[in-house]
Symmetry: C2
Subunit: 311 residues, 2 copies
């Protein structure tokens, strides 16, 4: 008999929820609002109710459902305890116990970036590999490490927080975490813009970036169109991206490194840009890791949340 699994990816504004087959077919994906009032006390009951309603709608009983996984924007340890999720108003929330008490089905919980990594390793860019590193290049740099098919959560759920590896000495700007010189200050979309601004300031050469409030995408578009300063900025970006990934790969020796997030829309050109410094800085025994782009986009978290229930 076919069996089903639910995944939920809770963000600060909406929660994406999905019904999947146990083999990972996407059957029904939807969204509900995330109600953050009163320290987010309704978030988990809302997810549980939405899943119960879907079960009723589809005529599924408890025996048809393996369980539900949930990814949340905060550190979650291996027992499903979320120490803090600022965007949800949570502190020391036992996500697994709370959701289980409402849903009465098997439950697992994880950090959203880690859960997205699991999703990409199940049905996305890392499909078929049991040891994977996901690097998510967005406003910040997130990451998730999959070891033998499981999330590396770490002691307090901060495993895979690769955006805050120290990468550059003497960086005057401070990172969101309070430190100076973090990987994410260079390899995020914001970081790319920061690097490009420095390139523009260091030169009088013309560029498509001049005279406008440009975004990360403009840098890579300009690079592809042959703009010299965009090329310089993109190469600097690639240098730092490759150097940071090399450090992580040296520690955990992934089979495949999957690049996701908004910056990954630049496409395969990212691999060309990062490869020289990756090869320069990675431990030779870890240098043959494959690279791929993420495939699941915003669905990765739902897939990964569901996958936590399936071994």
């Amino acid at each position: 008999m076919a069996r089903y699994v639910f995944g939920a990816d809770v963000g600060g504004t909406t929660a994406k929820i999905g019904l999947l087959s146990e083999t990972g077919e996407k059957l029904d994906f939807w969204e509900i609002p995330t109600r953050t009032e009163n320290n987010g006390e309704m978030i988990i009951p809302d997810v549980a109710e939405s899943i119960r309603n879907k079960m009723k709608e589809k005529g599924l009983n408890d025996n048809d459902v393996i369980g539900a996984g949930i990814g949340v924007p905060g550190a979650v340890n291996v027992d499903g305890i979320c120490y803090q999720a600022v965007n949800l108003g949570w502190e020391n929330m036992n996500v697994v116990n709370e959701l289980h008490s409402k849903l009465k089905l098997p439950v697992k919980a994880g950090n959203d970036a880690n859960v997205a990594a699991l999703g990409e390793s199940w049905k996305g860019g890392g499909q078929g590999y049991r040891n994977m590193l996901l690097v998510t290049l967005g406003t910040g740099v997130g990451g998730g490490i999959i070891i033998e098919g499981k999330i590396l959560a770490g002691a307090k759920g901060a495993g895979g927080e690769i955006g805050h590896i120290h990468l550059v000495d003497d960086e005057p700007d401070s990172c969101g975490c309070g430190k100076h010189g973090c990987f994410e200050q260079f390899a995020s979309a914001t970081g790319a813009v920061r690097l490009a601004k420095r390139v523009l300031e260091s030169s009088t050469e013309d560029s498509v970036l001049r005279g406008k409030d440009f975004e990360c995408k403009d840098i890579f578009d300009g690079y592809k169109a042959g703009d010299a300063l965009c090329k310089k900025a993109a190469e600097q970006y690639g240098y730092y991206l490759g150097k940071g990934i090399a450090a992580v790969a040296t520690v955990v020796n992934p089979e495949i490194i999957v690049i996701g997030g908004g910056v990954s829309k630049a496409g395969d050109v990212l691999f060309d840009l990062l490869m020289p410094s990756f090869k320069k800085y990675v431990f030779p025994g870890c240098a043959d890791a494959k690279f791929a782009l993420a495939k699941l986009g915003n669905d990765a978290g739902v897939f990964g949340a569901a996958k936590m229930l399936i071994d």
Copy 2:
């Protein structure tokens, strides 16, 4: 009925083998020579025979023994395949299959540094913690990462090769791995001596280190005795040690970081020396990791090899 387990830690000259109870009591530890001739073809048969002889001597039959674990000086993946162990003459050796075919008992295999980490997490400095980083400071810098009580082997068994994280730009000397600026060039015993030599060259001040072919131990002894240049060298050493450990801790978020190897004989002073840069460079969410010294010395590998059989 009490049950037993064997652990073997194979080095280039001798193999240490141990008989332990399943709760980790050290019952009998001994050594046999490692015969590396003919590409080390006799190493595994010798270990198997030695274990079989011990079983006979102790009157143990197959049902009394859970199995045997083996640590070897080379990269070993999660399936027990050793890609290369230069000191043993091995290439692409299926250690698990080979040992099992001789011993006819359940077998597990791992890299020696990773296996030592598992030993320290079972009965050594990391006892009681399921997420641990072992940093071994000897001629080089080795390491092992334990996640939820298991070795992080990585795709090709190079997981935990933390000695080759890139740490310092513009380092003129080359590392054994062929790169420049690896963690191990600064944080190994050899690295400490290298740093101290640079300190001596940069100054005309007197020091206990002058005029002799000093070792790492002399630096820390001099530091404890108040020698100013030893203090400078030890502080530089601590800076790099803390900075490298911070990078690894940010990736894997250990509960405890255990320091072993020859340099760890310097004692708790190492923690004082490394802590300022550790705190400066680690991701705040990973900053509350505990630190401890390794406790098992040369027995760590045997304990860890045995522990692989026990879940």
